[in-house]
Symmetry: C2
Subunit: 348 residues, 2 copies
Amino acid sequence: MSEANLTNISELGEFGLIDELTKDIKTKNKSTVVGIGDDAAVLNYPEGKQILVSKDLLIEGVHFDMTFMPLKHLGYKSAVVNFSDMAAMNGKPKQMIVGLGVSSKFSLEALKEIYSGMKMACEKYGVDFVGGDTTSSTHGLFISVTVIGEANEKEVVYRSGAKPNDLLCVSGDLGGAYMGLLVLEREKRAFHANPKMQPELEGHDYILQRQLKPEARVDIVDALKKAKILPTSMIDISDGLASEVLHICKASNTGCVIDEEKIPIDQSTFEMAKKFKIVPTVAAMNGGEDYELLFTIDQNDYEKIKAIDEVSIVGYITDKAEGQRLITNDNQSFDIEAQGWDALKKNK
Amino acid sequence: MSEANLTNISELGEFGLIDELTKDIKTKNKSTVVGIGDDAAVLNYPEGKQILVSKDLLIEGVHFDMTFMPLKHLGYKSAVVNFSDMAAMNGKPKQMIVGLGVSSKFSLEALKEIYSGMKMACEKYGVDFVGGDTTSSTHGLFISVTVIGEANEKEVVYRSGAKPNDLLCVSGDLGGAYMGLLVLEREKRAFHANPKMQPELEGHDYILQRQLKPEARVDIVDALKKAKILPTSMIDISDGLASEVLHICKASNTGCVIDEEKIPIDQSTFEMAKKFKIVPTVAAMNGGEDYELLFTIDQNDYEKIKAIDEVSIVGYITDKAEGQRLITNDNQSFDIEAQGWDALKKNK
């Protein structure tokens, strides 16, 4: 679309803009009584359900780079990273409320792209879009998403329930999102050096998708339920395996052992890490943004967990006194340290 | 405190900062199962309660001006404006989740000031602080607050229930917050012109408080319940009486008549408006940020509403065909138009 055809959002005003962005939104879940359009959304959860609430902020220049993040993907990702928090509690996302702060350089069409990604995520995960607050910002774009979800009363899983000898499990594979980010950053630098250069993104579909269009592992929540496994603790992997396992150990007051050779790493992640001269394990331990689940289960559930696709046992829980250890392929033992993504330290 | 004693937030990192800000927070409400510290807060509302959820964004340079907004007041106000949304649904706030985006110029002590204002508001209104996400921003401060509240199942009041002949009621008085803002802006200009000048704020306590430390009218929700009045529609007045009454008329598919002489305006608002050469009614109709309640009641509740302090009947609801009219003191009739505060249009 040419620049001339874009609609300036300041022409619409706040209420006109919200009408325009939300007019086609319908709600479907039983727990949603009233969605967008009043001072608050109204929900009704039946007896026996615990309600889960989480919030994440995404800020331009800190959490995403608009030069390589398509707006639709940005909308999709900002919804999904919050859905992932629901999965991390062994629950399902049900409602979403979005706050957008946008500078006046944004067109209505650009905002519709972000919303279309969010709506696509809601559609895929069965979530109702029940509220939005859109306002101007003095600089850049920021997105604040609140998700409400549910879990059965006795099935909420916290970070704090791990106990010695529990098995440490990971869904999917790790490090891919970080490798995707490195490829995108490399191409951005190349573009700045020579704007005529075509970006070399071909053949990197998997790691780019891991970075640009992550998914929340609610399918693993379903698979665990079907297999009659209730994890003893769980967290989603947003900041890298190292940071997350330390959260579980701190909350559960335990130690842990992770076997390097058991960490699931996709072949394309492995190859790209080698190309960037990064040890693949480091990408998995500290890369972040994979949105896989890290959880612990009782040893007695070993046979059951083996039957679930896409779950790897990467180690086990120990007494706190034994510390948090990584055993490398050549049988050395290292303390696990969180060097993961940290938005505040990063921008020193 | 001298600059030298301030703690740079980048030294703490994200998790250290959140620990520091939230370590003394306790939860009290029965509906709060688990607050801060996991991937999501966990709530449990009993059968028969509707759950209300609302979100507001506050952005530096758009919604507040740090040159005259003390940080503690800012924290208090950002909580209270969300509590007000719960009152507008005839409910009570119960839990709050806060997202803060802060540039690295902020010290830990500055953030603690904001949090202390938020905690003070939670204490006063009986709300649990159940989650926080703090991250860096590239520019300035922004605050995203999500509040969860409750109302009895058959007592949720929407914007859409007004019907012809209902009485139109307003709590408290209007226009004061806007006059407070004009005083603060005047003193800021004077300060920029001559930094040695002392600000002239004395004698303006009421209107300054209306701007800097507004309250949510949950006391009116209680008074209505006690008087056995269930409003037919309700909204809180954040953008001025004109904008809000149009929201009610649009949602309810009605017209309305407001009598200018019935609009409650405090003496100090009135006098300051005259000084600024603003018609006081215009301040009340279009000023915004008063956070009073605008609601409609059945005519049969007339005697009951007269017994409630701090409620004024300002007009009544009509058929849609009669339009939305303001009858002035000299008996002229004007169309009501929303010229209220609109964050997106304002920054054209």
